[in-house]
């Protein structure tokens, strides 16, 4: 049996090279690992080692040959006792590396059939929203309690769910969100970590690979930046990279967005950062009912979920339905108020400004439709588009920075999907394009406000006020 030795590719981009020197001649015996030739690429001279053993039966490409295409047969090895005369070699360049021949590509235009086309991205379809049965008791609950209840319920239901993070157990949570969990579930399932975000985020993802369902609390998402590599490179991508074999059923949660008077490193909104990443689900609720229902869905979801809470909302109370198993579907926006004049789209703390503005605008005769996105990836554009088809105008509200914001994405998508329905440019109300200042007056200026929302609505409705 003879073995063909092919011109090797010695770099990811190499297409051809020069056969500088043969270090063996016909009739020599070689074993695997012997250096048999030197090849010049555009970058370096490289040695070629034999992979098989045998006798050099025939040197097909002579020393000094230039521009030898990768995968061309350059020599043939035969077994001891075989005759070199039996060797037949196809000396033409290999078909595999051949460019499709075109006489004059300029004239014939781009060859569409030969380029595999990019398949269409799947169309997003949001699930139906949860319904609260008639007569359900509503209980006033803080966002903090709602989140805790969601974790407790899921931990009762599934022994694979556990919580870890800094100060989550004995201290009962830096912001008291995990209050009582250590007492109910014990130290095996409610785990205080050292201050080592990159390490415990990675550890959590590994545990998720192995089938557990970790809830990793970041004391705030500012500190998740220490761990963002594990969130994106490990959690978000592994399902795809493994061809669908490995999943990361993990929830990364904690407060996100500006807090009060804590300065540039502790006061920022990462919504758009995570929403950028395929493979993640990103949730950012406003109300306690949504916080509870979405966190329960997030814990059950087989994907990595980044769950962005807000410190300043923890103490705010909302009605939460008293149901044995209240869940809210991921990826479904909520029309908080129906209206015909303008669509305001927001999420998380942005909803506070949007709600305040809506109340004033409605009072002054503007019929606002208010949408709480709740989930930022996948983004429920069908709900937003449906609304804008009706109102023709849209204002987005968020605390994040303007460039590459959630609002920027919505504006772009509305141009794609609802251009003909728009009667005015989409306007974004965002945090100012600055690191968060500490001084009280500057901090106030850096944040968005209900006033700015009203001004934006006036602009898109061409109102003179």
């Amino acid at each position: 049996m003879s073995v063909e030795i092919l011109m090797p590719a010695l770099s990811p981009t190499m297409e051809e090279g020069n056969l500088a020197k043969w270090l063996v001649k016909e009739g020599d015996t070689v074993s695997a690992g012997d250096v048999i030739a030197e090849i010049e690429t555009d970058k370096a001279t490289m040695e070629v080692e034999a992979v098989d053993e045998g006798v050099v039966g025939k040197i097909v490409v002579e020393e000094g040959a230039q521009n030898v295409k990768v995968n061309t047969v350059i020599a043939v090895l035969i077994e001891e006792g075989e005759s070199a005369d039996d060797i037949k070699v196809d000396t033409s360049a290999p078909a595999a590396s051949e460019e499709p021949k075109q006489e004059n590509p300029e004239e014939s235009g781009p060859s569409e059939q030969e380029q595999p086309s990019v398949p269409a991205a799947p169309v997003f379809e949001a699930k139906a929203d949860s319904e609260i049965p008639e007569g359900t008791e509503m209980v006033s609950t803080t966002v903090r309690e709602a989140l805790r209840d969601a974790m407790a319920e899921e931990m009762r239901a599934d022994g694979d769910v556990f919580v870890m993070g800094e100060e989550v157990a004995e201290y009962q949570g830096a912001y008291k969100v995990t209050q009582g969990l250590l007492q109910e579930f014990g130290a095996k399932r409610v785990i205080d970590t050292p201050i080592t975000e990159h390490g415990f985020a990675g550890l959590g993802v590994g545990a998720a690979f192995a089938g557990l369902k970790p809830i990793v609390e970041f004391m705030t998402f500012n500190f998740a930046m220490q761990a963002i590599d594990q969130i994106i490179n490990s959690a978000a991508k592994t399902h795809y990279m493994s061809g669908g074999q490995v999943t990361s059923p993990i929830v990364f949660r904690g407060p996100n967005g500006p807090a009060a008077r804590v300065g540039a490193q502790h006061s920022q909104d990462f919504s758009a950062w995570y929403a950028h990443i395929p493979g993640l689900i990103v949730v950012s609720p406003y109300s306690a009912a949504d916080a509870k229902g979405l966190l329960k869905s997030a814990i059950r979801n087989p994907n990595p979920v980044v769950f962005l809470e807000n410190e300043l909302l923890y103490g705010q109370s909302f009605d939460v339905p008293k149901l044995a198993d209240w869940t809210v579907p991921l990826g479904k926006a909520k029309v908080v108020r129906e209206g015909a004049d303008v669509t305001i789209v927001s999420h998380s703390m942005g909803m506070r400004y949007a709600t305040e503005a809506t109340e004033k605008l409605v009072e002054s005769g503007i019929d606002v439709e208010l949408i709480d996105l709740r989930t930022l990836r996948p983004l429920d554009m069908p709900t937003v588009v449906e609304s804008v088809k009706k109102t023709g105008r849209c204002v987005t509200v968020e605390e994040g920075w303007p460039q590459g914001s959630i609002g920027s994405e919505i504006a772009a998508r509305l141009m794609d999907e609802a251009f003909d329905y728009l009667d005015a440019p989409v306007m974004r109300v965002t945090g100012k394009d600055v690191p968060m200042p500490y001084a009280a007056n500057l901090e106030k200026l850096a944040l968005p406000s209900a006033k700015e929302v009203i001004e934006a609505v006036n602009a898109v409705t061409y109102r003179q006020v």
Binding site: Y171, D192, I195, A259, V262, G263, Q265, Y438, A439, L445
Partner: protein, 337 residues
């Protein structure tokens, strides 16, 4: 070149207690008292709503920065985390400007834009004031890299906490610092707790002075409540680094009397624990006792000194209360150069 073994032996020899001269005792006393009174005032002003956000007080740990500073020289760089007020006062920054930063006013060290956790001074080579636990360790290592690159004989004094000692980048930095023999002294302020987590609950081994062992970095555990021990150890460490022998670790055994920040009720430790530290180990009381015992100062003189310090602090508080907030135009300035 100091030998590691000599240094370690010296530190552990009880009879060989490093002594201070009268001037040194008086200096240490006054500086520590300034930090103590400043922090007490800051706590009070926080309670009045004049200071917002987080405010991490240094009360109890004063001997660490004071002793290290006494062993350093002008031109040495320093960097720490958010518990930074003492570090700034000790390098000589104006208490008025520090306090005004705490209240977020125009005259603050960062013009009110940084806050309690973020203050800097190029002049004193103080690089913050950093809010992300552990980040200052790599940054401080970079300050040492610059010193070596420029062939300057300055040292980087890189402070961090016992909790920060568990961050990965600390060990990445240790490795590079020794690999390239960078002039950095790592000063671990082990006050026993990282927020509510005691060192024992967060660390598989609790002798932090040994955390550099596998990199070949010498380390010492130091009584961080005794300013003389701190200065003595810091002299050895700084000399080691300055003479080109690379990094050195000083684990300062210290204690914070207050909660982690103003909003921490500190229920994770007993009142007795705090009380016994205060009554038996207080860094300021220790110096005071020696001053009196040696008759280097009378009670009266020490009272006068306290009065002077209180006057400095009151003046700082008044300034920080009355100084105006930064102009609105400051919002968009200094984002990029």
């Amino acid at each position: 070149m100091p030998k590691k073994t000599d240094a370690a032996a010296k530190a552990s020899t009880k009879g060989n207690m490093p002594a201070f001269t009268k001037e040194e005792e008086l200096y240490a006393y006054k500086e520590m008292l300034l930090i103590r009174r400043f922090e007490e005032k800051a706590g009070q002003m926080y309670g009045m709503g004049l200071i917002g956000g987080f405010c991490h007080l240094y009360i109890g740990q004063e001997a660490v920065v004071t002793g290290v500073h006494m062993a350093s020289k002008k031109g040495d760089a320093s960097i720490t985390g958010y518990r930074d007020h003492g570090h700034m006062l000790i390098v000589g920054l104006d208490p008025k400007a520090v306090m005004a930063e705490l209240t977020g006013r125009k005259g603050g060290l960062s013009k009110g834009k940084g806050g309690s956790m973020h203050m800097f001074s190029n002049e004193e080579r103080f690089y913050g004031g950093n809010g992300i636990v552990g980040a200052q360790v790599s940054l401080g290592t970079g300050l040492a890299f610059a010193a070596k690159y420029r062939e300057e004989d300055t040292v980087s004094l890189t402070y961090f906490g016992d909790g920060a000692a568990n961050q990965g980048q600390v060990y990445e930095s240790f490795n590079m610092a020794k690999l390239w023999n960078l002039p950095v002294v790592y000063i671990i302020e082990n006050n026993k707790y990282a927020m509510g987590t005691s060192l024992e609950r967060a660390a598989s081994t609790t002798d932090l002075s040994k955390r550099g062992e596998s990199f070949g970095i010498p380390g010492e555990q130091v009584d961080g409540m005794d300013v003389r021990m701190v200065r003595d150890a810091a002299e050895r460490a700084i000399q080691h680094a300055r003479e080109g022998n690379g990094p050195y670790i000083l684990e300062m055994l210290t204690y914070r009397y207050r909660g982690h920040s103003m909003s921490d009720p500190a229920k994770y430790r007993s009142k007795d624990e705090v009380q016994s530290m205060r009554s038996e180990r207080d860094p300021i009381e220790q110096v005071k006792a020696r001053l009196l015992e040696n008759e280097w100062a009378t009670e009266e003189e020490l009272k006068d000194m306290d009065k002077d310090v209180r006057a400095i602090v009151s003046e700082a508080a008044d300034f920080a209360t009355n100084d105006p907030e930064p102009d609105a135009d400051e919002l968009y300035t200094e984002i990029t150069v």
